[in-house]
């Protein structure tokens, strides 16, 4: 037995598979779901240094001596935890869709 990574000639018609309504729908739903989150976390991440670098609005105390810089930073942590949970839940739905696509289009 060899360990070559599979890249032999395929017997599957992938062009047809990716053109199927089911697959296109899956990709579209995944994209519609993920894009806003990706844009949001990148934006949130880079707005922090812009605000601390070019303005002083985060330097004011928020809770006691804790400034808004820290509140912003902590909310980044909460964002990461919330987004991972959201992703996890959503991914379960996509798994069901994927199983259906494979069953219907590949294993018939």
């Amino acid at each position: 037995m060899t360990n070559q990574v599979a890249r032999g000639k395929s017997t599957m018609d992938y062009e047809k598979l990716v053109q199927s309504e089911d697959f296109k729908g899956l990709v579209k739903r995944k994209k519609t779901f993920a894009t806003p989150f990706v844009i949001f976390f990148f934006a949130a991440y880079f707005i922090l240094p812009l605000l601390t670098g070019y303005t002083k609005i985060l330097e004011k105390p928020a809770i006691g001596a804790m400034t808004w810089t820290w509140v912003y930073a902590f909310s980044m942590f909460i964002m990461v935890w919330v987004f991972t949970s959201v992703y996890m839940n959503k991914a379960k739905h996509f798994d069901v869709e994927v199983d259906k696509i494979i069953e219907k289009n590949v294993l018939k």
């Binding site: 360990n3 070559q4 890249r7 992938y14 810089t69 820290w70 942590f77 935890w81 992703y87």
Partner: protein, 515 residues
């Protein structure tokens, strides 16, 4: 050091050696060696990712950075955690769906050309060497400090230990050492954080009040800008932190140690929680060290602040806690370097020897033998480099590794999955451009060139202003991918797999039974 220090230290080492002994009996195939036979569960792999990721740079480095620079040190915690959203949303599942052992496998699932695999392997080896060097230099300093032995001897001890784990236990032993280490690290960090909070009468907000006057920075300690006075330079660092993780070969490799993409995904969730909690606690480590050890004492021990966490443990919990923390730091370094050796060895043995020179025609026995020899080569080379690098700045090496990963690997990984037109020329151009631009810019940056004699490798004014060049090198990697692809747009090579196939497999995890 007291007797209790030795007891704790050797208990940790004995435990990891026992794991290796147990794992060695289960490591027979190449898949066992590289990926623990894909047998880890979600939480196990999640712990192992955390164990792999929370390197000496995180544990010792961030604690020190916060203690000396306040909020600016905390940027590392934010960046390295947010990086996991990039991994989770964009990379983890497609990577796992397309790959087998290495990152190059995943890119090779679309581009058959040997030069693509070669470029990916070259990037892997470069990143691994920088990262290894950072860990080994850090380990040398730590052991030298603890046992009072010479630096070269400390490096040899750590190097030998890491080779024992890898050679005998492969990925199974390495994973379990990482899991055990993650648990010990969290335990140690939670204990110290609790003790710090107790010293502040469990008043979290009051702790911030105290910090206003606890350091030479005064109130600035609580604001951004102590170190990063230049916002563009800061953004450049943040780009490297947030994208670099998605291109780190030893982290990506961990997605192949589970049975499917579903498990890969769940392991990211576990690791995000563990790593997130750890990074929150870095505030207590940093603030506690600044307040109860004091910046003068921290700097006196190590200018970069690397000994802040163990020193804080000593102040709060005496010899026993300090040696526990030191033992954990030691286990941390061992676990991380073992993971690094494996990813470097896989690039040499699996990608270069197995796929490029032998076209995949190697037996299981040859694969494992090649992987072991490659481990020895990587291990010995890094030990030799580390012996001559005592004076190098550890944080600089780690950020360089992240920068190369972000610039050289991430554009190709993302475009392989998401861009239909991407081709072999684009992939090779992107990987090499990202690598070269990152290395050249670092070589002419303040990290290497400094007007103060002896501060860095070269005395003189830096040509490139930012210590971390990601703000230029990451766009360069993407740009090269686009230009490379467009100038050869009609010339898809015949061994490229259709984008339709790559896309379908990446999204569904479907695999034909032709393995």
């Amino acid at each position: 050091m007291s007797w209790i220090s030795y007891v704790i230290f050797f208990a940790v080492i004995a435990l990891t050696l026992y794991i290796t002994y147990w794992a060695a009996k289960q490591t027979t195939t190449a898949s066992d060696f590289y990926t623990a036979g894909g047998s880890l569960t979600g939480w196990q792999n999640g712990m192992a990712i955390a164990g792999d990721y929370l390197s000496a740079a995180s544990f010792l480095g961030i604690a020190g950075a916060i203690s000396l620079n306040g909020f600016d040190g905390f940027y590392y915690s934010i960046g390295w955690l947010t990086a996991y959203l990039v991994v989770l949303f964009l990379i983890a599942e497609p990577l796992r769906n397309l790959g087998k052992f290495t990152m190059a496998d995943m890119i090779g699932a679309r581009f058959g050309a040997k030069k693509v695999r070669g470029a990916a392997a070259l990037n892997t080896i470069t990143i691994v060497m920088f990262y290894m060097l950072a860990q080994l230099v850090g380990a040398g300093a730590l052991i030298k400090l603890l046992f009072g032995i010479e630096y070269w001897m400390a490096v040899l001890i750590v190097g030998t230990m890491m080779l024992i784990y890898v050679l005998f236990g492969g990925m199974t032993a390495t994973s379990w050492v990482q899991i055990v280490k993650a648990i010990l690290l969290m335990l140690g960090t939670i204990i110290i954080s609790f003790l710090v909070l107790m010293k502040f009468n469990f008043n979290f907000i009051g702790m911030f009040e105290t910090m206003k006057t606890a350091t030479p920075h005064g109130e600035a300690f609580l604001h951004s800008g102590v170190v990063y006075t230049d916002t563009i330079g800061l953004i450049s660092v943040l780009i490297a932190l947030v994208l670099g993780t998605a291109g780190l070969p030893h982290i990506l490799m961990r997605f192949f140690t589970v049975k499917d993409a579903k498990t890969a995904r769940s392991s990211v969730i576990y690791s995000v929680w563990i790593i997130g909690i750890f990074y929150v606690l870095t505030i207590f480590l940093g603030f506690g060290a600044a307040k109860f050890v004091g910046s003068d004492a921290i700097i006196a021990e190590n200018a970069a602040g690397n000994m802040a966490a163990p020193m804080l443990a000593g102040v709060l919990g005496g010899d026993a806690l300090e040696s526990f923390v030191a033992a954990v730091a030691f286990a941390t370094i061992l676990a991380v370097v073992a993971g690094l050796v494996l990813s470097g060895a896989s690039a040499i043995a699996h990608d270069i020897y197995g796929q490029i020179f032998k076209n995949g025609n190697v037996t299981e026995k040859q694969q494992v033998a090649a992987a072991r020899w490659a481990s020895i080569a990587i291990g010995v080379a890094s030990i030799l480099l580390a012996l001559g690098s005592e004076k190098l700045n550890v944080a600089f090496l780690v950020s360089l590794a992240f920068c190369v990963a972000a610039s050289a690997n991430v554009p190709t990984i993302l475009l392989t999955i998401y861009w239909k037109k991407f081709n072999t020329t684009g992939a090779v151009a992107s990987m090499l451009t990202g690598l070269i631009v990152a290395l050249v810019l670092v070589a002419i940056s303040p990290s290497v060139m400094n007007p103060v004699e002896g501060a860095t490798l070269i005395t003189g004014n830096p040509i490139f202003p930012y210590a971390n060049p990601a703000i230029v090198s990451v766009p360069a990697g993407f740009l090269a991918a686009f230009i490379g692809t467009l100038v050869s747009s009609k010339r898809h090579e015949k061994d490229e797999v259709s984008y339709a196939e790559v896309r379908f497999k990446a999204e569904t995890g479907y695999k034909e039974l032709d393995l």
